[in-house]
């Protein structure tokens, strides 16, 4: 197998010949006058772990509920593995859902909760028992089979909910904020566990989350949603490094944005004049734009260099004063006030322990960045 096919195997969305596993076509959902999901089209491939990321009320949960059958699209179609989902009630769909509240049946113990779905499929008792055992082992809850949900910790409940939705081997597993109810430490551990389980079973996962770090860690690809529309689809790195518009740049990670106007435009470089930064920003690659077009220049705080002495031979040099410092342990966030009053956010790793000679409040500092460090946003 040569390297080229390997890449495509890993990333089926790059291969135009690959048929998508889930095909969402022009789906719109209205509640009265309110448009919750607006003309969304999305292809998801087999064994993907796809994250739908967005703030509350952006329509991500509604989209998930349309996949599971709890809501019906106002228009548009949803196809899973070549089968049209229209008219199929939730109980007849090849999907299973892990609920944000976990929705464990309070009157049944762990074993019965997990067996419930298998029993609905009319499996014989022997088989049900065996499958429940297998999945309990997978989520490491063998010793808790007889407990009621009320006797479990938050993390254990989360695993029961996962086991219950996975045990039926659905074609697609839908997860609604699967980690939101866990505390930070447990959430980080569980993220990797979730990825491991997904990879070992090969089930297609669709995860809804509002937590961008979670989406970046988990997903093969993610879709950013805003006001009922998908604004960008891509791999985590792609979305972070090449945000398609201002909303995505701002929503994922933090970003400094300079408004400006294109003054020079070439195939190899672009120069943007920004009143806010009081400099001409030099971009070392071509951008599809027209001269004198209004654009935004976005640069991430960690891509900006900072020091007390004026560096030589650099482009994109700014001067400012340290306004605020937030010490976060592994890194520090600085807010620098430029001469024009614009504030810029810069992060620096704390590589040494002592704070001697470190940049402090009211220091005059110089900021600069590489011509390829930022992104030009035309929308």
């Amino acid at each position: 197998m040569n390297e080229q096919t390997c890449v495509i195997d890993d990333k089926p969305w790059l291969d135009a010949r690959q048929p998508p596993f889930i095909r969402i076509k022009n789906v719109t959902k209205k509640f009265g006058d309110f448009i919750a999901v607006n003309n969304v089209s999305l292809d998801i491939y087999r064994s993907e772990l796809f994250c739908l990321l967005g703030g509350s009320g952006c329509g991500k949960s509604t989209l998930l509920r349309m996949l599971s059958g709890f809501e019906l699209p106002t228009s548009g179609s949803i196809e899973i593995d070549g089968q049209d989902m229209a008219g199929l009630p939730p109980h007849a769909r090849p999907t299973n859902m892990m609920f944000q509240s976990y929705a464990l049946f309070p009157h049944m113990n762990v074993e019965k909760n997990i067996a419930y779905g298998l029993q609905r499929d009319g499996l014989n008792r022997q088989e049900v028992k065996q499958r429940v055992q297998e999945i309990l082992t997978l989520v490491q809850l063998q010793d808790f089979a007889k407990r009621k949900p009320s006797q479990l910790s938050g993390g254990q409940r989360q695993r029961v909910a996962l086991a219950r939705s996975l045990v039926k081997k659905p074609k697609v597993l839908l997860l609604d904020e699967p980690l939101a109810a866990l505390d930070k430490k447990l959430r980080e551990e569980t993220q990797f566990e979730l990825v491991n389980i997904q990879e070992s079973l090969g089930v297609t996962f669709i995860v809804v989350t509002h937590d961008q770090e979670e989406a970046m860690t988990l997903s093969t690809r993610l879709g950013v949603m805003d006001a009922g529309e998908i604004v960008q689809i891509g791999e985590p790195r792609e979305v972070y490094e090449y945000p398609g518009n201002r909303f995505v740049a701002d929503f994922i990670g933090s970003v400094n944005i300079f408004d400006g106007r294109v003054i020079e435009e070439d195939t190899n470089f672009v120069i943007i004049r920004s009143e806010e930064a009081k400099i001409d920003i030099h971009v070392s690659h071509g951008v599809s734009c027209t001269p004198s077009q209004k654009v935004s220049y976005a640069i991430r705080p960690e891509k900006i260099q900072m020091c007390l002495k004026k560096p030589k031979n650099v482009k994109n040099l700014l001067k400012g004063r340290v306004n605020e410092i937030a010490y976060m342990g592994n890194l520090s966030v600085y807010q620098i006030e430029l001469e024009g009053g614009k504030r810029v956010r810069v992060t620096q790793p704390n590589t040494i322990r002592s704070d001697e000679g470190a940049i402090t409040w009211e220091d005059e500092v110089y900021l600069w960045w590489d011509g390829a460090a930022g992104v030009v946003l035309t929308s």
């Binding site: 109980h91 007849a92 499929d121 009319g122």
Partner: protein
């Protein structure tokens, strides 16, 4: 994945059932709606129409004791509407004063129930969790035991040779027994006593939701406990006061058993009048007219109550 497949294959069966209902013109959903709606329509709403109809007919010595409202005579439909019963109600001062007295008694009883019930509800709402459940149960418990017997118990307490008079005379405070039975006082006691849980429960439900930190904030800002109560607790508990008062007032207006057992012959409450018209005078049309008049008196408080409960439902 094959499991899913077998399930999908079984689908048509449930569709068949749904199809069957659809063929007889009813979806399962419509059936579920129809059963309680029809029952209540027949046994709750239509009876009022019947009452209204009979209130417009003339009393007669017959079985049933009223004349039909309409009859076919020589192929002509004759409708005789008789508003005489209502005119009778306005002409005889008995009914007018009974209405006034019922409303007065119910109103004052509601006020007294509020005075007694508010501290109780407040105490329950502020009690520690365990005590709170026990106290709540103590409020609900009498409500579950026989209403009639609880009213009856007051006879033994209030009558001339009853507990209170016995105790007071034994203590030497009075020489002659006070007459309490068969007075309006006894009726007030009975109504307040019987409907107290109706006042306490909505008040409690409201007060228990009150955020303690609001009281702390008020006191932090310099309000005395009494001022805190007056400016924070009381205004915030108004919905509870409103609901509780209506729950006491409405049934108290039509009360029959309490004035009958504890009140005297001059305690004229409208429930008693209706009962007497029906059972003693066997005048069904006038009894019906009294009922309709009472409904008109109560329709505004009932609608207020419905509105209050809807607002509460939306809030929670």
């Amino acid at each position: 994945m094959s499991d899913k497949k077998t399930f999908v294959d079984r689908m048509p069966f449930s569709q068949q059932i749904a199809g069957f209902f659809a063929r007889i013109g009813l979806s399962p959903r419509a059936m579920v709606i129809a059963i309680p709606t029809l029952w209540l329509l027949i046994f709750f709403l239509i009876p009022f129409v019947v009452v209204a109809k009979i209130s417009l007919s003339e009393a007669a010595i017959a079985r049933p004791p009223y004349l039909p409202l309409w009859e076919f005579k020589d192929g002509i439909l004759n409708v005789t509407l008789n508003i005489g019963n209502y005119i009778f109600l306005t002409e005889d001062p008995l009914y007018y004063s009974a209405f006034i007295e019922s409303i007065t008694i119910a109103g004052f009883s509601t006020f007294f129930a509020l005075l007694i019930g508010y501290p109780m509800a407040y105490m329950i709402a502020r009690a520690p969790d365990r005590t709170r459940n026990i106290l709540l149960m103590l409020v609900i418990l009498p409500f579950w035991s026989s209403f009639l017997l609880r009213v009856y118990a007051w006879i033994g307490i209030l009558k001339t040779k009853g507990l209170i008079n016995g105790a007071l005379m034994w203590l030497g405070i009075i020489d002659d027994p006070i007459v309490m039975m068969q007075t309006d006082f006894a009726v007030y006691v009975g109504i307040v006593y019987t409907y107290l849980p109706f006042m306490i429960l909505p008040l409690y439900a409201n007060l228990v939701k009150l955020d303690e930190s609001l009281l702390e904030a008020a006191s932090d800002l310099g309000a005395s406990p009494f001022m805190t109560f007056l400016t924070i607790t009381l205004p915030l508990s108004l919905p509870g006061i409103f609901a509780g008062s209506l729950l006491v007032f409405i049934p108290a207006v039509g009360e029959f058993v309490i004035p009958q057992l504890l009140g005297g012959p001059d305690t004229l409450m409208i429930g008693k009048i209706l009962w007497n018209e029906f059972f003693s005078n066997r005048d069904w049309p006038v009894a019906s007219a009294v009922a309709i008049a009472m409904l008109f008196v109560l329709v505004i408080p009932v609608m207020l109550l419905q509105k209050a409960q809807q607002a509460d439902g939306e809030q929670s």
